[in-house]
Symmetry: C2
Subunit: 410 residues, 2 copies
């Protein structure tokens, strides 16, 4: 790793070892710790067992410079992280009267009485710094142990991220001198991006670039460190953006749907969707953006041929001649979406499988069309994978086609 | 844990330590190992570092009866799991001529030449049993170490699961005598379920019941072991199903959308949706079910008031009098969905936030209506959480209201 500081992550919670749950705080940790100059090299999920957690903390503190523990700071008997740390390091726990008073005030404000066991959330490891929790009750705790850092944060995702952003990143991020930028690409596969960026590795260092790909979207994570980090990062960004070309749709936390909503707003255009095989996925993505209602009027999920005709005006003769999954139908659906009262239309029709394929139109065949005041675009695909993957690829490539269509021209 | 055998899981792969990736094989492992009588007590993600992986395998073999390692069995230099195990246990690697020949044949079949480095996939730990990979090239390996089991499986999810199902579960599942069943509930919160099932814990054992909840859906994981496992499980199932009542919608892998598609098919009914705040989420859920096109004709995402009127026939005067988010509008939207050519309609209208709330109708206010040939149902909610959570709760409660509506009567 370029900057050499290593972090380990422990998620405490028996529920994380069962078949339906995944810890997601480690994703937030990986991203934010990178800004602080730490590379995450190990993560563990552990059951709520005081000995096990104590053991793991001891092990990790010997191997990495920062150990971040998520969870187990709540009020119940299952919440054993504080005690586990006390065991692991031979430290005592001290009840902090200030935190206790704040806890009581919080309960009073909510019209409830704090249960006795809730006072445990005011127990602080001797010598630890308390990191206030802006979104909840249990505060974080930060402890220096033989020159290494031990950071305890609540497991509730919103509280975990809030304390990281308010107390951890400002403190370590600047000192680390690490600058990071994510370039977001869509409508392209990982292998294509890898070929194009390979010549840049030598110039900027292989460790400073990470490629993350997922179903038609590719993120390029760039970082630079040291006194000239900002200047270097700017140079990297412009070099990688040049190779990305029109596949680049945004930076950092910008989603494809967010970028489209902003594009449409800038142009004063509105959008309606006409979905078949994606069944509402595209509408769901777009409306996940707060404020989408300014530009998104709505859409039609035209799963049956009858609805393709009755709501979108696709002629039955066209459907009979070319089939529901065809370039012609996609174009007619996009045109039909305009009749919902929008200036732009986006249509998707395809065969998601597992049944419905034929030799000429196998499972994975998808046609997409986007129409704007500047014109019509069409793209045809044969996507790999199962039903879920074909649908996600179709939704992602459709949003990307729309982005390119809306983005062109003045 | 009831049956006392503990398993640890290690996912090997540097990409799993970055901000965009989560290991999901551990979810499959947790579920399938449970059928084999093992409880997962720890999982770790590690970078592709031979020493780190060797170290972790050594540590876990001292603490649990089974260590399952996912990934690092491919052909590249990054794939270091085989060597790490050899280091950890002081075993040698032996190239297996049979596997080597199979690898070569596979490449020939694909019209390619096997690269020299690919032969590494034929390296087997001395004394290990080879578990053939029905979906890929690298086989699994099973080794007994001082009375404990070490299982190495490829990290590609389809290959991981296939080897578990074909080679591991049949071998250990029967011997363990563990029977398991999941009861799936919807339209209910975890705390309500907990209160109702609490009296059953004593009778069947707290360790045999796990509650997993997520946004309006609750799973009850039941298990029994020993010679009378099947009979005990049947007794548990009937007792828990009785407390669940009408909230129970399915078993094991059945999703809410799958159950609804089956219900509609049985009754010979069809469905159209009218979504506002969910923006297509409900349609996307329904069409995730293969064969949904038999009963789902499609729907309208009526995000704007204009579309609510033009496509669903909601009178503008009704919208003006009661607002777009109201019981009256939800009922009119559901009725309007029938005009798309279906016998059942499902409508959702709400305020997902963060903006758009008012003192009378705060963010989280959602109205749902379902109409079937048996009549109309309505439900109003004030959901907690952010935009994404309100939308997911709305989609889940809407599907559940529809399930109850379609399920009633003959």
């Amino acid at each position: 790793m370029a900057q050499g500081r290593r972090a380990g992550f422990i998620a405490v919670g028996s529920e994380l070892l069962r078949s339906g749950r995944l810890d997601t705080n480690s994703l937030v940790a990986a991203r934010l710790l990178r800004r602080c100059g730490y590379a995450l090299v190990e993560k563990r999920c552990l059951v709520d067992d005081r000995d096990e957690v104590a053991h793991a903390i001891g092990q990790l503190l010997e191997r990495v410079e920062l150990v971040l523990v998520s969870g187990g700071l709540g009020p119940t008997a299952d919440d054993i992280t504080r005690e586990a740390v006390a065991d692991a390091l031979g430290l005592s726990l001290v009840r902090d009267p200030e935190i206790e008073a704040a806890l009581e005030a919080r309960f009073t404000r909510l019209g409830r009485v704090m249960p006795e066991i809730g006072r445990r959330m005011a127990d602080v490891l001797l010598g630890a710094e308390v990191l206030p929790n802006p979104h909840g009750t249990a505060p974080g705790q930060l402890l220096e142990v033989r020159g290494r850092q031990l950071l305890l944060l609540p497991g509730v995702p919103s509280e975990f991220e809030a304390i990281m952003l308010q107390h951890v990143v400002p403190r370590w991020g600047e000192a680390a001198g690490v600058s990071a930028r994510t370039l977001r690409l869509a409508g392209v596969y990982e292998s294509q991006v890898e070929d194009r960026v390979a010549p840049l590795y030598e110039r900027f260092g292989r460790d400073n670039v990470t490629i993350l790909a997922s179903r038609g979207r590719v993120d390029l994570l760039l970082q630079a460190q040291g006194p000239k980090a900002e200047a270097e990062l700017a140079e990297m960004e412009s070099a990688f953006a040049a190779t990305a070309g029109a596949d680049l749709f945004g930076r950092d936390d910008e989603t494809l749907a967010f970028v489209i909503v902003e594009q449409l707003r800038r142009k004063g255009w509105t959008l309606a969707t006409a979905e078949s095989c994606t069944g509402g996925l595209v509408g769901a993505e777009l409306t996940a953006v707060s404020g989408a209602s300014d530009v998104f009027v709505g859409g039609v999920v035209a799963y049956s041929n009858e609805l393709k005709s009755s709501l979108l005006g696709v002629p039955a003769s066209l459907l009979a001649a070319h089939g529901a999954v065809s370039e012609q139908t996609a174009r007619a659906m996009a045109q039909g979406a305009l009749t919902l009262g929008a200036t732009c239309g986006l249509a998707i029709t395809g065969i998601a499988g597992p049944s419905g394929g034929s030799p000429e139109k196998p499972v994975g065949t998808v046609h997409i069309a986007a129409v704007t005041p500047s014109g019509m675009r069409h793209a045809g695909y044969r996507f790999p994978g199962d039903r879920a993957m074909v649908r996600e690829l179709a939704a992602n490539f459709a949003l990307d086609l729309l982005r390119r269509a809306v983005g062109e021209g003045p």
